[in-house]
């Protein structure tokens, strides 16, 4: 990563990123730019460097911010009409930590509204185009951030991952993405989706850059009581864990043969780098998606109840009394997918269905976590695809929510178990579309995954 110093000017780094952002405007990575403020901050950093003052570990590094992180520059929209004029009164802890180390936000990136979706087509501001093939989706929900890194506009970008929203777009655009152990990075100041699986992570072109950004963001935050004590170290550990389990349940029916080929080739690269790869079956994983589409909508229904048109955000002009204020605001301000999730969430939580759906899912979640624990007694790392197929064409799945949910089938089980999982570039299909491999480990072993990925890349 290029960091400002006596030779490299922060202003040049920021200007270059802003120019590239303009050059690739057609891809629609960004919802809003932060040009004036970014250049001003870069100048401040250059002045401090010129004076010989100490600057941060990310001094002058331009980055892109998923537009569901709150910060006072401009507005934070979460790509929803509900918030399209919301000047955030607070700053997300993750953003504050990056800015304290000198990183400079150049713009806010596109997402599926409220981070709900797997293609970035569900944005109030229109979709983002895939970096490798602009006729295809970026993946999602952190599609804008993934494409901004893949196109080389910025060297890193923030995303959030509740069920695959960093990993799947990383895979679709051929870059690295991390969903860390639950609780690694504070959720404070990020628009809440499903609180028990919301994790904050990032995209970059290599494992070392991911490591640096995560090291800056990770650690306890008094404002998020679920954050863990900092376990992240500045250096990646040596890649000494050697036993890899290739999940056969995700390599068969319903998975694109080109995806299977790329992941198998990645497994071969791992063997070449000295790892043992054995097949492992975890039948419980196939229930992950059904569990997730009960737990997550239930949490969405609760978290999105705050958008009522009263305190902030949109207020419908159609309102004539308090009830219609709520109902019309929530009809206008949410995208159809947000509404479906709220309805499903209230269904699984409603009297008469709570035990059969919500409670059942939370019990099944316990079984899923047990299955992971057993698997990690046999192997150090699990390997599988990130998604069943490469990036799809625009509109292909927009009218079929269940088909869109299937995108998440290989990424949600890890989210439910709170374990770390990274997406690494594994190859390309015959149509030249990027395919990612997913590496997962038990909680707290995030850096082990990065060091293995780095090692495999070096030995290739």
């Amino acid at each position: 990563m290029k960091i400002a110093d006596q030779k490299t000017k922060a202003v040049d780094l920021v200007r270059e990123a802003l120019e590239k952002a303009k050059q690739y405007e057609d891809y629609h990575c960004f919802i809003s730019m932060n040009e004036a403020r970014a250049i001003e901050k870069a100048r401040e950093i250059d002045e401090r460097i010129a004076k010989g003052e100490k600057v941060g570990r990310l001094a002058g590094v331009p980055y892109a911010l998923k537009d569901n992180y709150l910060s006072p520059e401009g507005v934070t929209t979460a790509a929803a009409k509900m918030l399209d004029n919301f000047p955030a009164p607070i700053t997300a802890t993750a953003v504050k930590r990056l800015e304290d180390e000198g990183a400079i936000m150049i713009g806010r990136t596109n997402l599926d509204a409220y981070a709900q979706g797997s293609s970035t087509e569900n944005s109030f501001f229109g979709p983002t185009k895939n970096a490798a093939d602009p006729t295809r989706v970026a993946g999602g929900s952190s599609g804008g951030s993934a494409v901004a890194v893949a196109l080389g506009i910025v060297e890193f970008a923030l995303g959030s991952d509740t069920g695959g929203s960093i990993r799947q777009p990383a895979s679709f655009n051929g870059i690295y993405g991390i969903k860390p152990t639950y609780g690694t990075v504070s959720r404070y100041g990020v628009v809440a989706m499903a609180s028990s699986t919301d994790t904050m992570g990032c995209f970059a072109q290599n494992a070392d850059d991911i490591n640096l950004v995560m090291d800056v963001m990770a650690g306890k935050d008094d404002k998020d009581s679920t954050t863990l004590e900092k376990f992240w170290k500045d250096q990646l550990p040596a890649a000494k864990e050697k036993k890899i389990g290739l999940i056969t349940d995700f390599m068969g029916d319903g998975v694109d043969p080109e995806v299977v080929r790329c992941v198998n080739e990645y497994a071969e690269k791992m063997k070449k780098a000295g790892y043992t790869v054995e097949e492992i079956s975890i039948p419980m994983l196939k229930y992950g998606l059904a569990i997730y589409y009960i737990v997550q909508p239930a949490e969405v229904a609760s978290n999105l109840s705050r958008y009522d048109g009263v305190r902030y955000g949109l207020r419908s002009a159609k309102a004539h009394d308090l009830d219609s204020l709520y109902q019309e605001t929530r009809n206008e301000g949410f995208m159809p997918e947000n509404q479906r999730r709220i309805l499903i969430g209230n269904f699984v939580l409603s009297s008469g269905y709570f035990d059969a759906y919500y409670l059942k899912a939370q019990k099944a979640r316990t079984l899923l976590i047990r299955a992971y624990k057993e698997a990690f007694e046999k192997v150090d790392v699990l390997l599988c695809p990130v998604a069943p197929a490469p990036a799809f064409k625009f509109g292909e799945k927009t009218d079929d929510p269940l088909a869109m949910y299937m995108e998440d089938v290989m990424s949600v089980p890890q989210s439910l178990a709170g374990i770390p999982s990274i997406s690494v570039p594994a190859g390309k299909t015959k149509d030249n579309l990027p395919v990612g491999a997913q590496l997962c480990a038990w909680r707290g072993n995030d850096q082990m995954l990065l060091s293995i990925a780095k090692h495999v890349e070096e030995k290739d």
Partner: protein, 95 residues
């Protein structure tokens, strides 16, 4: 379990979302698909299994009972509302 038109209307009321008449039928079909899919958990035996609501099994996480300065000022927060008078948020009449 299949989702009826009445279910959709009931869920819309619970969710405080108004739904246009012509949206009800397509929504009913989509919700029915989703509920059909998630019902596959019926296959699992979860007898005697404890639910997991939070991965790390955290109990109460306490902080010191001290007043701290909040980063936003009252006026900044009230400025986010559509209608405000004398530091009070205004809404349409309830009754």
């Amino acid at each position: 379990m299949s989702i009826t038109r009445e279910d959709v209307l009931h869920l819309a009321t619970l969710s405080n979302i108004s739904i246009a008449e012509d949206e009800i039928e397509p929504l009913q079909a989509k919700l029915d698909d989703i509920v059909g899919y998630i019902s596959q958990l019926d296959e699992l035996d979860t007898e005697g299994v404890e639910p997991t609501y939070q991965c790390f099994d955290m109990k109460n996480v306490w902080r010191a009972d001290e007043i701290t300065e909040f980063e936003a000022k009252r006026d900044d927060l009230l400025a986010l509302t559509t209608e405000c008078e004398d530091h009070q948020i205004k809404v349409p009449k309830v009754l």
